[in-house]
């Protein structure tokens, strides 16, 4: 046998092998994945490490609430199993981890996954497979506004443009001499906030003197802050992640810049403000918006005590003064509620039905807020209140405002 013939043989065998691959049968699917008579398995992706790791406490607080519910009978007799993976806020990691949740862990729903870019990277995949992607931890307006194309995706918190629109209106009405400097993340998350600010400012948007951007992986934003000061800004609109926000607040004070600072809700946890202060930042008078229960100024109410005891029992070491823990418990409360309404044996369609027919109060949200959705109005929380930093905590002022669109 010549070498050439042997090569031919090898090629023929390879072709045969390819034919076998091509004819392989696809395994058939079964009943609702993730639901057994005893458990409901859900899962999500979160930045446990990396540039957004200050959000890493959220899934632990959520799991604490699920454990609390499990030890009190679970959801219609089923215990919640919550699997979460570290995507480092990087969509390049979110995608394979979400595949893993779906294909290997067979989750009933993807729950609570964090970050605008990570959700944008996975919603095509999940909606294509009709897998719920629910109560995602990002306030971008897409989750509510693009429901026709992505009916299986829904958010939780107030949308970012609505929040920054109120900052814009506040600046327009209350700070006539404003010269506005903006620091924003260079992606859809930053852009969402920026768009809302422009809408709120209206004609006053000419008062923006400089806009600086950073990439999510960049943690040092001092050069951007220096440029904003040099541009003569006296109002600082800060639309960043916690790490960059803390850095910006510290640098602002260090370079002797004293603007009126607006900090977006997702970066204004009292814990972060404390960290910034410890590093020398002056945060007195800064303004933000919130929608969670005020455990800081009302530490002895039944809700505050319940929240702290759940954390103490099921999430040892968690700091109850970090707003992200409260966020996690409030979000998990909502998940338990909709799971209980998703059918005696929950189905994915039943879950989406419950998520689009909310009309209730959540004890862990700011008093007066009603969680309300319809199949065409998919913004679960649509009210917030402004707060100003005074002394050692945020003090709410004014009254609840709606994120009218």
């Amino acid at each position: 046998m010549t070498r050439r013939m042997q090569g031919g043989l090898a090629l023929a065998l390879l072709a045969l092998a390819v034919a076998v691959v091509a004819s392989a049968a696809v395994a058939a699917g079964t009943a609702t994945p993730g639901v057994t008579s005893k458990t409901i398995t859900i899962g999500g992706t979160f930045p446990l490490t990396g540039p957004a790791q200050l959000y890493g406490v959220i899934p632990k607080a959520e799991n604490a609430y699920f454990q609390y519910v499990n030890t009190h009978g679970g959801v219609n007799g089923r215990k919640i199993v919550f699997k979460y993976y570290d995507d480092q806020y990087n969509p390049a990691n979110t995608v394979p981890l979400t595949h893993k949740l779906v294909q290997q862990d067979h989750v009933f729903a993807v729950y609570g996954s964090l970050g605008t870019a990570p959700i944008l990277a996975t919603r095509d995949y999940l909606n294509g497979l009709r897998i719920p992607q629910v109560l995602v931890a990002t306030g971008d307006s897409y989750w509510g506004s693009q429901y026709k194309k992505y009916p299986w995706t829904i958010g939780f918190q107030p949308d970012y443009p609505g929040e920054s629109r109120v900052y814009g209106q506040f600046i327009r009405n209350k700070i006539p001499q404003a010269k506005i400097g903006v620091l924003m993340q260079n992606d859809a998350y930053g852009q969402n906030y920026y768009n809302g600010l422009l809408q709120g400012l209206g004609a006053a948007k000419s008062k923006i003197v400089d806009v600086e951007k950073y990439d999510a992986t960049e943690t040092d934003v001092s050069s951007q802050v220096v440029k904003l000061k040099a541009a003569g800004a006296n109002v600082f609109a800060l639309f960043a992640l916690p790490t960059q926000t803390i850095d910006a607040l510290v640098v602002t004070t260090k370079i002797g810049w004293h603007p009126t600072t607006f900090i977006n809700n997702v970066s204004s946890s009292p814990l972060f403000m404390g960290l910034a202060q410890k590093s020398g930042a002056d945060v007195q008078g800064d303004i933000t918006a919130t929608y969670v229960y005020d455990v800081w100024n009302n530490p002895n109410t039944a809700v505050a005590k319940q929240y702290k005891s759940i954390l103490a029992k099921y999430d040892a070491g968690a700091d109850p003064l970090d707003a992200n823990n409260l966020y996690g418990v409030a979000n998990a409360w909502t998940m338990v509620k909709v799971l209980s309404l998703a059918g005696k044996t929950p189905t994915r369609a039943g879950l989406m039905r419950a998520l689009t027919h909310m009309n209730w109060k959540n004890p862990y949200l700011y008093p007066g807020i009603v969680m309300k959705t319809t199949p065409t109005e998919r913004y679960p929380i649509d009210q917030q209140i402004l707060e100003q930093y005074k002394g050692a905590s945020w003090k709410p002022f004014g009254h609840l405002f709606g994120n009218a669109r």
Partner: protein, 326 residues
């Protein structure tokens, strides 16, 4: 071992490997099929690196950049709907040769410094390419989606597994045909001694840039499949780690051997997954353990998996000969 027997052994091993790879997905879950597709991606990328580094002796630690070129070619063509229609699958596949062409061009350009630089200097040049290409994607975010990236339609694990391994099979046969003939001899001659190669009539400039071009084209196709498996691309997908993993795979498998490539690909794709699913390691420990295993493997098998098999076969045939000789 006599050459003819070695060649028989090779053909039989190729057939056995192909049949095993073909039958494997029947026993796998959809998730593990897509992991299998990623092994195919590494197989093609490592094969590509082997051509330029193992056979031609030109060190590259920037093959992640060529994968990025291919991956972005596929992603941009598909995402901007330039190449999609009702028959989407066919168009998806046609982005692969397009990626190969773009990759070939990129490889020729990067190959130019190889005419001047040798050894560690060339390695540094390719390293710079690996760092720079993902940054380019950040700058032209209108096309590339910037750090936020581009999403693509998802495919099931079986389709991806088939695509990955058919591409791997074609790449393997192509590399085998290329390397056994005149071109392969020229490559090896350059690796062993550039002076001797030139004086034997091998045009150094032609064959060096050709090696880079072909290698980059293959890596680009690997990048395309990678992007299709993940149905997503952003600059971090093609970070420096990817280039290093491809290099580690090539070294662990054994440079200058087509057989080692399979072992190298399985090593870099499956070991980290095996470590995370094991009881001992959390995700933060994986890089450390992975590094330790690489060092251990290199200490035990300095010529990689292929070198180990060759030594073992040589040893086996020698003992057989000595036992038959009176």
């Amino acid at each position: 071992m006599r050459p003819r027997a070695a060649s028989w052994f090779g053909a039989a091993a190729a057939a056995a490997a192909a049949v095993a790879i073909a039958l494997l997905p029947l026993t796998l879950s959809d998730y593990h099929r897509s992991q299998g597709a990623l092994v195919a991606v590494y197989f093609v990328a490592i094969l590509a690196l082997d051509i330029v580094t193992g056979y031609t002796g030109q060190i590259s630690i920037g093959h992640g950049a060529f994968m990025a070129v291919g991956g972005y070619t596929t992603a941009i063509l598909l995402h901007h709907h330039w190449w999609t229609s009702a028959t989407g699958a066919l168009h998806t596949i046609w982005t692969l040769p397009a990626a190969a062409l773009v990759g070939f061009g990129a490889g020729l350009v990067v190959g130019l410094p190889a005419l001047r630089f040798h050894g560690v200097y060339l390695a540094l040049t390719t390293f710079a390419v690996a760092l720079a290409v993902p940054q380019l994607a950040k700058n032209y975010s209108h096309f590339t989606g910037g750090t936020q990236g581009l999403s693509l339609p998802a495919h099931n694990g079986l389709w991806l597994y088939r695509l990955g391994w058919i591409v791997a099979g074609v790449a393997f046969v192509f590399a085998w045909l290329l390397l056994r003939g005149r071109t392969g001899r020229a490559f090896r001659a350059i690796r062993d001694s550039e002076v001797a190669a030139a004086s034997s009539g091998v045009t150094l400039a032609l064959y060096k840039t050709l090696a880079f071009g072909i290698s980059a084209a293959m890596a680009a196709v690997a990048g395309s499949v990678y992007v299709l498996v993940n149905n997503f691309v952003n600059p971090d997908v093609f970070g420096l780690t990817l280039s290093l993993y491809v290099l580690i795979g090539a070294v662990v498998g054994g440079l200058g051997s087509l057989w080692g490539v399979l072992a190298g690909a399985a090593f870099v794709q499956l070991l980290p997954i095996g470590l995370t699913s094991g009881p001992l390691a959390s995700s933060e420990d994986v890089p450390v353990i992975f590094g330790a295993v690489v060092i251990a493997v290199m200490a035990a098998l300095p010529l990689g998996a292929a070198g180990f098999v060759q030594t073992a076969l040589r040893f086996a045939s020698r003992t057989r000969q000595s036992s038959t000789t009176p």
